[in-house]
Amino acid sequence: MNKQNISAALLALSLLAVGCATTGDPADDRSSAHPENELSGSATVFAAASLTEPFNEIAELFRAGNPSADISFNFGASSGLATQIIEQGGADLFASADQVNMKKVADEDLLQQAPRVFIRNRLEIVVAPGNPEGITGLSDLARTDVKVVLAAAQVPVGRYSREALAKAEVTVRPVSEAVDVKGVVGPVTLGEADAGIVYASDVKAAGDRAAGVPIPDNQNVLAEYPMGVIKSASNPQVARAFMDLVLSPQGREVLTDHGFIAP
């Protein structure tokens, strides 16, 4: 193999390495506690993917009230976030879409206090705008002409979806199993899939790119979202202040505006 070949191969290899992205590292710019009462520095919040829109909005409120403090987010499936917190740390605050994954973190003795449920969410069927396939309930998801995407059973919304389908006694053969709830909404808004099961808040977040079909209470599953400050938090003051804002009437209003349900 001659020099040019080798350099081409090396270039290829280095590009290969670039292709292997890592998950976002928390910001390193946190400063230690400020002498005065004013909050400063940044806290990293690990939050369920379904909280993306309301938490970004609450963070705007937080920044407006605390100009020298900041919040950065790592959104993803709660299950993956729990694994990251246990294996790598890096989180100041954890907001999970279910109790199971919060318990995993709590069982490792990584929480400062017992977690608090701050909001709830219910399931909805997400379809294309105008509902072209005429889906009226979970039983329609069993139709062979309907391409359904479910979240994988490993992530909270996937587990809830299967609970709801079991309650409705419907067997669905999905075309794909998404790795988080946003991965269910995506193919439906792109038109590649006809329907999926997501949180009501995600249908709302999709705006006019998707529509929702409600699931009756007797088939639905109520998801409880707990949050707690991590013991090894590098900036517990900012983390706690953000948590207080989420729990405040102001924060709750943002969440309910996004389709969540007050606890």
Partner: protein
């Protein structure tokens, strides 16, 4: 070469002479730069070795065989091998002619075509997957035509997974083969032509053997890239066990719940790919 001690290089002035002409400082300089190179080599090797060690130290070796025997792992492994080998095959069939055109033909927009070829290497794979959806998806312009004309839909199918892997893997083959074609000695081709060989015979009997190392290297790179492909596959082909869930996708989902399972799957993939590469290399590239 840089690692061999300076004293082994032949025309070294004797010490006294070197000192007189100021060569002493240049010898010290050479020594220092050799040490620097050695340091860089050590850092580079450690950089690759440490993550591998991290993986191997956490591997539950006792569970490896159970994991290998479990149907979901076997189907993911099988899918990974089939899809990546198919992607490599398609890359060779279409990539070698493309490399030939880039290396030998002069046509307007050649550098543009080359840039286009390397696009999948630069674009994040997830974006590549979205781009594939917008073209070959159910609502994409090419996808709609495929559906209407042939009743073929690619998203969420194994063919879709192969397409996504080919998209990200083929550039590696094209640039490696093109480099091989550019650097080979063309006098052998000219000689064959002078002796009356038809172009195809020349290509098969003269060019191909000469660029074989590049071809194998390119194919191996493309295969490795296809085997590890995640972003474009999950975006375009989705994730369904038994149909489109290759090992990288299974690893990602296993990470959601059990780190050990994810590690085991990775080690299985690593072992399989290493075995294949070593076998291939002994068979086809003994000099590489």
């Amino acid at each position: 070469m840089a690692l061999s001690p300076p004293s082994l290089h032949s025309p070294q002035p004797p010490p006294e002479e070197a000192a007189r002409t100021g060569g002493g400082s240049s010898a010290a300089l050479e020594k220092a730069s050799t040490a620097m190179v050695k340091l860089a080599v050590g850092v580079a090797v450690a950089f690759f070795l440490l993550p591998l060690l991290g993986l191997l130290l956490r591997t539950p070796w006792g569970e490896l065989s159970t994991e290998l025997a479990s149907p979901p792992v076997r189907s993911a492994l099988w899918l990974s091998l089939v899809c990546s080998l198919a992607a490599t095959g398609i890359s060779v069939v279409f990539g070698v002619p493309l490399a030939w055109a880039l290396a030998r033909w002069t046509f307007p927009g050649r550098s543009l075509v080359r840039a286009l070829t390397t696009l999948p290497m630069i674009v994040p794979p997830v974006v590549g997957g979205v781009a594939l959806l917008l073209a070959f998806g159910r609502r994409g312009f090419a996808g709609r035509w495929l559906d209407q004309a042939f009743g073929v839909t690619l998203p969420f199918t194994m063919a879709g997974a192969i397409l996504a892997e080919t998209f990200v893997a083929m550039p590696f083959l094209v640039i490696t083969v093109e480099a091989g074609l550019r650097s080979m000695n063309r006098r052998f081709e000219d000689a064959a032509a002078t002796l009356g060989a038809r172009p195809w015979v020349t290509f098969r009997r003269v060019t191909l053997p000469l660029i074989a190392p590049s071809l194998w290297a390119g194919a191996a790179l493309a295969w490795a890239r296809a085997l590890g492909e995640f972003g474009a596959t999950i975006t375009f082909a989705g994730n369904l066990p038994g149909r489109t869930q290759t090992i990288p996708l299974a690893v990602y989902l296993a990470l959601e719940t059990r780190l050990e399972a994810a590690i085991t799957l990775s080690v299985v993939l690593l072992a399989v790919s290493l075995t294949i590469l070593v076998l291939l290399r002994e068979r086809f590239m003994p000099n590489l």
